[in-house]
Amino acid sequence: MPWYLYLALKQLFPSGRKFPFFTAISVLGVALGVALLVVVTSVMGGFGHEIRRMIVDTEGEVQVRASGYLADYRGVIQRIVSVPGVTAATPYATGPVAVVYKQRPAYPLLRGLDLATIDKVANLARFVHGGRLDDLDDDAVILSAQLASSLGAFVGDTLEVYSPLIFEKLKNDEVFLPRELKIVGVLEIGHQQLDSNTLYCTLRAAQDLYGLGPAAHGINVRLKPGVNEDEAVALINAAVPRGVRAHSWQDSFSDFLWVLNLEKGMIFFLLLFVVIVAAFSVTSSLLISVVRKTREIGLLGALGGAPRHVAACFCAQGLFIGVFGTLLGLALGFGALAVRNDIVLAIARVTQRQEVLQRFYQFKQLPAHTSVNEVMLIVGLTIVISTLAGLLPAWRAARLKPVEALRSE
């Protein structure tokens, strides 16, 4: 290796001597910045990723809706499944209902599923505990976990369901009897909002409760893996009749995702200042090093070292601090991510806020999703900033004249 890189490494990590305090502090400063960036971007990315997983797992990548309801949803489904990239489509009916169990009322969102096609689009079966999705029929219902918990209802119990049709019936002085449905399962997705407030029944039962006849409120669409969602949406929109629109899951949650990305960007920008502050500390330490090693710099000139190589020696020290700090930071960051749930639970336990945590963040566990591109960005920026931190000391070192440097006290 060229002498200036060799000497830079030796000055930072001398063999046979105590690990220099300056190196330890500089590397640690950079490492903490990198670790923070990795943890925060991963956790923020985890929220987005988790939301995508839940939406796609329960509703497919694309939702097709009409302004009112889809009278001929079968015809629309036939057109949708003929679109390249579409694997399957399933109709649904949805809306608010009132339920009563042992005089305890609740007002969940009803979701009617087409049992013949739901498993091709949404993998709901894996979220069902204490029962089976296969047991669902027109006289049965599956409750979300927290709804079951708040009602105190169990699998095998029966509850009464009132739909908004009750108002129409009452207007016409008709008698409206609630529908009795048997609980055949409890569904727990892991999203607080879905788990707390949803009631799953068959499409037919939902159509009856809402008086839809053979119509549906919308269609969930599953795409082949790797298919671009926006392109698929465009193709579906071209295939479906006027008045029916397809939306990707990103469109459906665009406001939420935009806020999430904005938060992520802002936090990334702010935490980058930790690395920048660490870089200033590297600059300061290297400037002190230039002063302390003035006579050595003079010696290097006397031995025939070119000023640009002397400069490279100090610049390389910034680079190496960046590289080693980044490696340590990545290790710290991924280590912290591995035990993130333990840390969060410990904090929640100490502050006695476990339930608040779940209610606020909507997840049972703190999600994390690390993007390779973001890690590359963090690594690249940190190494560039650290190397730039060595520029001023390098310039000072290169300007020293060997004669004056050797003469310095």
Partner: protein, 218 residues
């Protein structure tokens, strides 16, 4: 006649002291042949170190010419191969052990290979420090450090060694040993030596003794 490795003609150097020009060197002429040893003595402040820095190409003269081996190029790249320097304060790099310090001279020229490593070990053996090759400068005595510096000066098989009061920080006995070593290895390798010293006994051991007085060599 032996080849001339160093030729300085009419070298002059002035320094500004306040508002006055101070003439430190007033036209120094010096020729050193291969294998020759020359000592330069003079009172403190007479300009010995200034002259040595000019001869090493570390500083530029106001007037006069300087040639190494008949070539006027005294730039950093050529200095690394042509010249070896020994200083009063040793100037070893504290993070490097004795072998690495010796090898540093070779590193500046090119990435050292097995031949250079073997030469560094050979030079350390020659200066009596084979057993201390892996020791850091802080683990060596003053005399040992200066011997490492001598080995470093010889690493690139230079044609000329410039030694600036190499015994200034050593006791008399150790200083004598270092000078004897320096003269011996220069004699063995045919390297020219310019020795700046205060010590008359050390100066007498060289082939030619010069005295710098009033900016001129006598």
């Amino acid at each position: 006649m032996a080849e001339v490795v160093l030729q300085a003609q009419r070298l002059a150097k002035n320094y500004l002291s306040g508002t006055q020009q101070l003439a430190v060197l007033r036209g120094v002429d010096l020729e050193v042949a291969a294998g020759e040893s020359v000592s330069i003595r003079g009172e403190s402040g007479s300009g010995k170190s200034t002259l040595l820095n000019l001869l090493a190409g570390l500083d530029s003269a106001d007037t006069g010419t300087l040639e190494w081996g008949g070539v006027a190029d005294t730039g950093t790249a050529r200095r690394a191969k042509f010249l070896g320097m020994v200083f009063q304060s040793f100037y070893l790099i504290p993070e490097l052990n004795a072998r690495a310090n010796v090898l540093m001279a070779a590193r500046i020229v090119a990435v050292p290979g097995a031949a250079e490593r073997a030469r560094a070990d050979e030079l350390l053996r020659r200066v009596g420090l084979a057993e201390r090759a892996t020791h850091l400068p802080s683990q060596l005595s003053g005399g040992e450090r200066q011997r490492v510096a001598v080995a470093r000066a010889l690493m690139n098989s230079p044609r000329l060694i410039l030694a600036d009061e190499p015994t200034g920080n050593l006791d008399e006995h150790t200083g004598d040993a270092v000078i004897d070593l320096l003269l011996a290895v220069c004699r063995e390798t045919g390297t020219a030596l310019v020795l700046v010293t205060h010590n008359a006994a050390h100066a007498k051991k060289t082939n030619r003794q010069l005295f710098l007085r009033e900016g001129v060599l006598h």
